[in-house]
């Protein structure tokens, strides 16, 4: 049953990918790539990667679709028809695909318990999590503690993207805002569209609640700071679409957003520095409390909060920066 399901989903994935590349209408491409992400998320779920599936759904189908659509609203709706045929590139790509497929024949068998992947470091993580951190979700343990330095880097990648977009676009309306027929956010919001507005407002608190659940339940089930940040940002973006961007900025002004971006990243870093001050290594949370296991759990909780805060701030800033470019 799983086999049939797997084949079916993978084939759908391929068909969607071809359709995304083929379509000349950029809106269609963007909507299809949202679908692609959802299909990919289902595939990840079949492969036992619940956390990754949640993230891919929140990021691929949610955030990246919103970002692409807001960019389309400012730039162009259609792709220009290709001027020349690209048979050469196609042939090269097909040959490269065949070479890749040939080379993957040497890969270890799928899901084989004796594959090297399952032998060396992975079992250690599974054992050590129960012993040293004592939380059910091993992914969170590896992400936050065993490889917490990577995650610190990840937070700073998001941070860089945030300040990059702010640096590029600032907060001013761009020159194309005037003539632009597609308004991303009406200054007055959707005040005159009764049904979406009522239902949307009803949903916002629940999305926020779910975001907080994902944030603080990350140690027990799939979830964590990044997914939660994406969800909370989605709720506020929804508010901005319904009530107008200015109302959203009244709730969380730009200065606060900058503070969120910097504060979350600093929070993570400072927790790491505490490891040094308390006589151990950077990012060692064990020393945060007299009981090392409690210390680890405390550290994870705080750094996940830091991740969530930064991600919320960055995603909202990017949204506002894009929206301000197309305003009026």
């Amino acid at each position: 049953m799983t086999v049939i399901f797997g084949f079916f989903l993978l084939t759908l994935l391929l068909i969607t990918a071809v359709a995304i590349v083929q379509s000349q209408n950029l809106f269609v491409s963007v909507m299809l790539s949202g679908m692609f992400s959802l299909l990919l998320a289902v595939n990840f779920f079949l492969l036992d990667a619940a956390d990754v599936a949640l993230t891919e759904a929140a990021v691929g189908a949610g955030i990246s679709t919103v970002l692409l659509l807001s960019a389309l609203a400012i730039t162009a709706k259609h792709e220009k028809a290709p001027s020349s045929s690209r048979v050469g590139a196609l042939i090269i790509v097909i040959i490269a695909t065949l070479v890749l497929i040939y080379a993957t024949l040497g890969n270890p068998q799928f899901a084989d318990p004796n594959a090297p992947v399952h032998q060396h470091v992975a079992p250690w993580y599974l054992d050590k999590t129960a012993e040293a951190i004592d939380i059910p979700n091993v992914v969170t343990a590896v992400l936050g503690s065993f490889r917490g330095y990577d995650t610190l880097g990840e937070v700073f990648v998001v941070f860089t993207a945030g300040i990059g977009v702010l640096f590029l676009l600032g907060t001013q309306p761009g020159p194309f805002a005037q003539s632009n027929p597609f308004k991303l956010t009406d200054p007055k919001g959707l005040r005159h569209y009764l049904i979406p507005r009522v239902v949307g407002r009803m949903l916002i608190p629940f999305i926020l609640l779910f975001g907080l659940y994902v944030q603080f339940h990350g140690e027990y089930g799939p979830g964590g700071g990044f997914q939660a940040g994406a969800l909370i940002a989605a709720a506020i973006i929804l508010f901005a679409l319904l009530e107008g961007e200015n109302s959203a900025l009244k709730v969380i002004p730009r200065s606060v957003l900058i503070g969120l971006i910097a504060g979350g990243a600093l929070l993570y870093g400072v927790v790491g520095l505490f490891g040094i001050f308390l006589g151990s290594n950077f990012l060692d949370y064990s020393v945060l409390s007299s009981n090392p296991v409690k210390g680890q759990q405390m550290g994870l909780l705080i750094i996940e909060a830091g991740v969530g805060i930064t991600v919320t701030g960055v995603l909202l800033s990017i949204f506002h920066a894009f929206a301000a470019r197309g305003k009026f």
């Binding site: 005159h192 569209y193 049904i195 979406p196 239902v199 009803m202 949903l203």
Partner: protein
């Protein structure tokens, strides 16, 4: 009792599947945007009403059932809203149906 629940849930889920199929067929074969949305609406509304209770019968009285119920409520709220938003957006963008050319189009909802 066990058997009865199983049969009931399978009937519900199969019926739901049939509606999903009909909805998909309609979305492909109908002539214009509004009729297609009408067909797609079937997969949004009647299909989850059938499929999710079917799944709940399988899950029994557990936390999973509560979650399924929450999903059902969520789908029933958002599906029609999305259809409404889509239709009014299409209307405002000037997409008129072939059949309803004569119908007066509201100036704007503002």
């Amino acid at each position: 009792m066990e058997l009865f629940l199983d049969i009931a849930s399978w009937i519900l889920m199969s019926l739901g599947g049939v509606f999903v199929f009909i909805g998909g067929l309609g979305a492909l074969r109908m002539p214009d945007l509004y009729t297609r949305m009408h067909a797609a609406g079937i997969t949004d509304s009647i299909a989850p009403i059938l499929i999710i209770p079917g799944l709940m019968l399988q899950a029994g009285l557990t936390l999973a059932s509560v979650k399924l119920l929450a999903i059902l409520v969520f789908l029933l709220l958002t599906g029609p809203t999305a259809s409404n938003a889509l239709a009014s957006a299409a209307l405002l963008a000037g997409n008129r149906s072939e059949q309803v050319k004569s119908t007066a189009v509201p100036e704007s909802e503002e």
